[in-house]
């Protein structure tokens, strides 16, 4: 219990003094996570809409695989990305290992199935409403996908937020491919792991509270921007 109070006071102190290290790793956490989320959404949302409107032979299997990949172990993803980006790997020539770019790649791989699956659930329901109407209007496949993405945008926000939650709290994969290097690849989660390893529980808890506050703040900001709770909107 004492550790919790110490953690809270540490978090308050770090925030009140705008601790330089905290600001640096917080900004890096946000940069890595938001970049990964943007890339993941650019891949996952059109994919989800495509799976909703298009019927093809392996569609069910694709959806099943996507759902299964939601539970992808991050450490394994980190390991695979590590192998690909290591000097002896196929992409070793780019020198991306132990850089924020490597962390972004790993997070994209982890987040895409989650965002695509959650988005697909929403868009599938919307498509069942729109199916006859859009076919009746002679809409092309691309026009159908665009209509679903636009009209389902507020439901898709939930999918994006789920992805954000997964990415901001991720530690296994980015520890492996980022290396937790001070002033280079250290982010909130890897810093927490480091402080815990050192036995600095108050500092670790302090960083943890900052992480939770950050996640809540971003969620609230996105909800407010999207006005998801406004009457008569979506």
């Amino acid at each position: 219990m004492n550790d919790l109070w110490a953690g809270l006071s540490q978090a308050f102190w770090l925030l009140a003094t705008l601790d330089a290290d905290l600001v640096e790793i917080t900004l890096r956490s946000l940069r890595v996570t938001l970049t990964a989320l943007a890339i993941a959404c650019a891949i996952a949302l059109p994919l989800a809409a495509f799976l909703a409107v298009r019927r093809f032979r392996l569609r069910r299997a694709t959806i099943a695989v996507l759902n299964a990949l939601m539970g992808l172990p991050p450490v394994v993803v980190g390991l695979v990305v590590y192998v690909f980006l290591s000097r002896a790997g196929p992409f070793g020539v780019f020198g991306l290992l132990f850089t924020p770019t490597a962390m972004i790649i790993a997070q994209v791989i982890i987040v895409v199935p989650l965002v695509a699956s959650v988005a697909h659930q929403s868009l599938r329901e919307l498509w069942s409403d729109y199916h006859d109407l859009l076919i009746s209007m002679n809409a092309t496949q691309l026009q159908r996908i665009k209509a679903l993405l636009w009209d389902g945008r507020r439901a898709l926000l939930t999918a994006a937020l789920a992805g954000f939650g997964r990415a901001i709290g991720e530690v296994g994969a980015i520890m492996v491919v980022g290396g937790n290097i001070d002033h280079a690849t250290r982010v909130l989660t890897t810093a927490i792991a480091l402080e815990t390893g050192k036995g600095e529980f108050a500092m670790a808890l302090g960083l943890g509270f900052v992480l939770i506050a950050l996640a809540i703040a971003v969620n609230l900001a996105i909800h407010w921007l999207g006005r998801t709770e406004s009457e008569g909107r979506w």
């Binding site: 409403d129 729109y130 109407l133 076919i135 209007m137 002679n138 209509a147 009209d151 389902g152 008569g232």
Partner: protein
Amino acid sequence: MQMFPLVAKGAVVRRRSKVLVGPVDLTLGGQGTSIVIGPNGAGKTTLLKMLHGIVRMNGGSLDWACPLDEAQKHQAFVFQTPVMMRRSVIDNIAYPLRLTGIARKEARARAADWAKRVGLGGILERQATMLSGGERQKLALARALVREPQVLFLDEPCAALDGRATREIEEILAHASESGTRLVMSTHNMGQARRLADEVIFVLQGRIHEFSPAADFFAGPQTPQGRAFLNGDIVE
């Protein structure tokens, strides 16, 4: 462009080996209003959707006087339960125009004009899902008519509407018909059928039992089932 006649020969729709409609042999000319009547489950909705092309046929043929892709561009469908896109009233009506590549500004201007014609001019920016049943049906009509289709299919557009809303919808339909739009509509309301029909298609168990001018049908149906239906008896 000449779309009619629409000729169906032995057209059949099956689902899980059960025949929903057909075989249907039917020739629709290019003028007037055809009213499809029949008891619940007779196949009216499936027949309309088949003619419109949103239900796939499992046999027979359906031919317009023009190429199919051209015919598809010049027809529209109003569903029994109108589908409201998650957009404003004006954006709902403008959507079919945007699909054809018309610029947003022009599409919205034309949509606003159609909204006024159907009595939705005062609520252009309201979210469509917030509309009442009558307003939804008017929006669906405006959205269908905005592309000025040559043929409009309507599946019980006045079901669950009160008398006033029904009259307003009928006025819009009468105006569309006068403007040259061919109407093919199903209804359970025999009063409405008498008011609007130029010809009647009586459907029972997925088949067309009678297809005759409205005056002839209402004066005396040719089949016992038609007579029973008109008398309000239970027909199966």
